[in-house]
């Protein structure tokens, strides 16, 4: 007896037997049945052919932008929308010290895809526009965002001992980094020691947006002054 899978599920809805499927993200197992734990579209990832593995059942966190394009199965759902090891994040530098820089995580990108359609569920324009980024003052905002550290040794892969933090990041820069550890109770740890990681947006001392000129230099288009940064390779 094969009951067809429901298109969408709500928490607590039974989806199928655990003997038939593997429980994926958005589901949990209870008494050898798979139940949905979030509300969303039910997606069946077929097993690799020629293997003994079962197909994976999951409930997607993301609502497909175009429902008839069910080819979203390429995207991997995660168990949550929090930063995880290997997550690529965009973060704003909030403090630069001798041994480390503190950043505030703004966006968690999925490591597998840079598909613009793939955004976390609360990352839609409507919700961004309603909420002020900083309701009362700046410190409140940072309390609402996950904090991370970039340690001196994680800034770049080469000439690690010659890293001067002030020449890598400045407060206000937007940095692309990769999470290396969930860290302690208050900080994640992220690294920028890859060519594609580092500062992606920065303003000069004159207050103008700079453009990258090399892997360690950015330039102000108006004053023509250049400043040092650990620059991410532009696409």
């Amino acid at each position: 007896m094969t009951t067809p899978l429901p298109q969408v599920a709500i928490p607590g809805q039974c989806l199928g037997s655990a003997s038939k499927y593997t429980a994926g993200p958005g589901t949990h197992i209870q008494q050898s049945n798979i139940y949905a734990s979030i509300a969303g579209p039910v997606i069946l990832d077929p097993a690799q052919p020629n293997t003994q593995t079962k197909s994976t059942l999951r409930v997607s966190r993301t609502i497909p932008a175009k429902p008839h394009l069910a080819s979203t199965s390429k995207l991997k759902d995660r168990y949550n929308t929090l930063p995880a090891v290997n997550s690529i994040v965009l973060a704003r530098v909030t403090r630069v010290q001798k041994r480390q820089a503190t950043v505030s995580i703004l966006v968690v990108l999925d490591e597998d895809s840079l598909d613009p359609a793939q955004t976390s569920d609360n990352d839609n324009i409507a919700s961004i526009l309603t909420s002020a980024a900083n309701p009362e003052n700046h410190s409140t905002t940072d309390e609402l965002r996950f904090q991370a550290l970039i340690r001196k040794e994680d800034v770049r892969a080469v000439e690690k001992d010659r890293v001067v933090m002030d020449e890598m990041f400045r407060v206000g820069d937007i940095v692309r980094g990769s999470v290396i550890s969930l860290g302690d109770q208050s900080f994640y740890y992220i690294t920028t020691s890859r060519n594609d990681l580092g500062v992606v947006m920065a303003r000069s001392e004159g207050g103008n947006m700079m453009f990258p000129v090399s892997w360690k230099e950015m330039r102000d288009p108006i004053t023509n002054a250049s400043e040092l940064r650990k620059v991410a390779r532009p696409y």
């Binding site: 966190r61 429902p67 168990y79 309603t130 309390e143």
Partner: protein
């Protein structure tokens, strides 16, 4: 003689606008002073097992990660009074509340490391929510509601999926339930019965908001209330108390005991149970072998099942709205 209302203490709070320093008194109605009362007690028009309709919608507050709005349909007496107003004194009242979830977000710096999701609940009445004006600062009953709500939800959330993060769940009660009929003097059995209905509503609304925020749950958990009431109007003094689901305290002469549960139908589990009143002393009708508290719990679970169908419908509807954009 009547007991005159005491002057409300006005706390001098410099961050709020304070009323007259002398304090103010709630109005006293002349009809209230006449013995017997001017209006008749509201009568329950529903069958003992019928629930009031619940209006529930999720996702109305875009700045929150999850949100819901819940309303109980007014009892017939209140509905009549609304459509054909005669007295300024409402015969009963019907729960209205709004619930938001913010997060998951980082835990405060001072907090210890938690491998799980930390849930914070907060329940507050609007000053105009109840028959008596509520203060701006949370009182004991509001804190109590928050704690009960937290237990109810904690049993449903899969907290280990969200390490070292927290969510804040806030409920604002715009209209509360009555604890008794307004003209009744508090009696021996009296407790804040209305609070149990409020808790049931809070549980259902909170569960909807958490689902709207896409926080992993074992099941949608819903709240239900049942009460054992003795309405002397039956003239039969030996009559056993009757079990009423979703009892509106304004509609009954005397509530002996009541029970509220938070219930997950998919697993047939109760995550929160709160029983008030002297249920052990109550004998049920002949033929009913259950003890009074068993009957109460069964009744409350039935009520919760009813609320669950509304809850799952609301969650499903919001999702379908998102899946099939207009």
């Amino acid at each position: 003689m009547l007991e005159l209302p005491t002057i409300q203490d006005t706390m001098n709070d410099r961050r709020r606008i304070n009323g007259p320093a002398e304090g103010t008194r709630p109005p006293v109605y002349a009809s209230h002073l006449k013995s017997g009362g001017a209006t008749d007690r509201a009568q329950r028009q529903r069958e003992p097992t019928d629930l009031r309709k619940i209006f529930l919608k999720t996702g109305l507050i875009p700045s929150a990660s999850g949100s819901s709005y819940l309303e109980f349909a007014p009892s017939s007496s209140l509905a009549n009074a609304r459509s054909n107003p005669k007295s300024l004194i409402p015969p009963s009242s019907a729960l209205k509340l709004s619930c938001t979830v913010h997060g998951p977000k980082p835990l405060p710096r001072s907090a210890a490391f938690s491998p799980n999701l930390v849930l914070t609940t907060h329940v507050k009445y609007a000053p105009f929510a109840a028959r008596k004006r509520k203060g701006h600062i949370r009182d004991a009953s509001e804190r109590d509601l928050g704690v009960h709500l937290e237990t109810a939800l904690r049993g449903a959330i899969i907290a280990e999926r969200w390490p070292k993060s927290g969510i804040d769940l806030t409920i604002t009660i715009l209209e509360a339930e009555d604890d008794r009929w307004w003209a009744d003097a508090p009696d021996l059995h009296d407790a804040s019965w209305g609070m149990m209905n409020v808790l049931a509503g809070c549980i259902t609304a909170a569960s909807a908001a958490i689902a709207d925020a896409h926080i992993d749950c074992l099941d949608l958990v819903s709240g239900g209330v049942a009460a054992l009431v003795s309405d002397d109007s039956t003239e039969d003094s030996a009559a056993a108390p009757r079990l009423m689901l979703d009892a509106d305290p304004a509609e009954h002469r005397s509530i002996m005991a009541a029970c509220v549960v938070a219930y997950m139908p998919a697993r047939d589990e109760i995550t929160e149970l709160w029983l008030k009143g002297e249920s052990s002393k109550i004998a049920l009708e002949k033929g009913d072998q259950r003890s009074a508290h068993e009957a109460l719990i069964d009744g409350a679970v039935d009520a919760a099942r009813g609320a669950h169908s509304v809850l799952s419908e609301a969650v499903r509807e919001t999702m379908l709205r998102a899946v099939t954009p207009l």
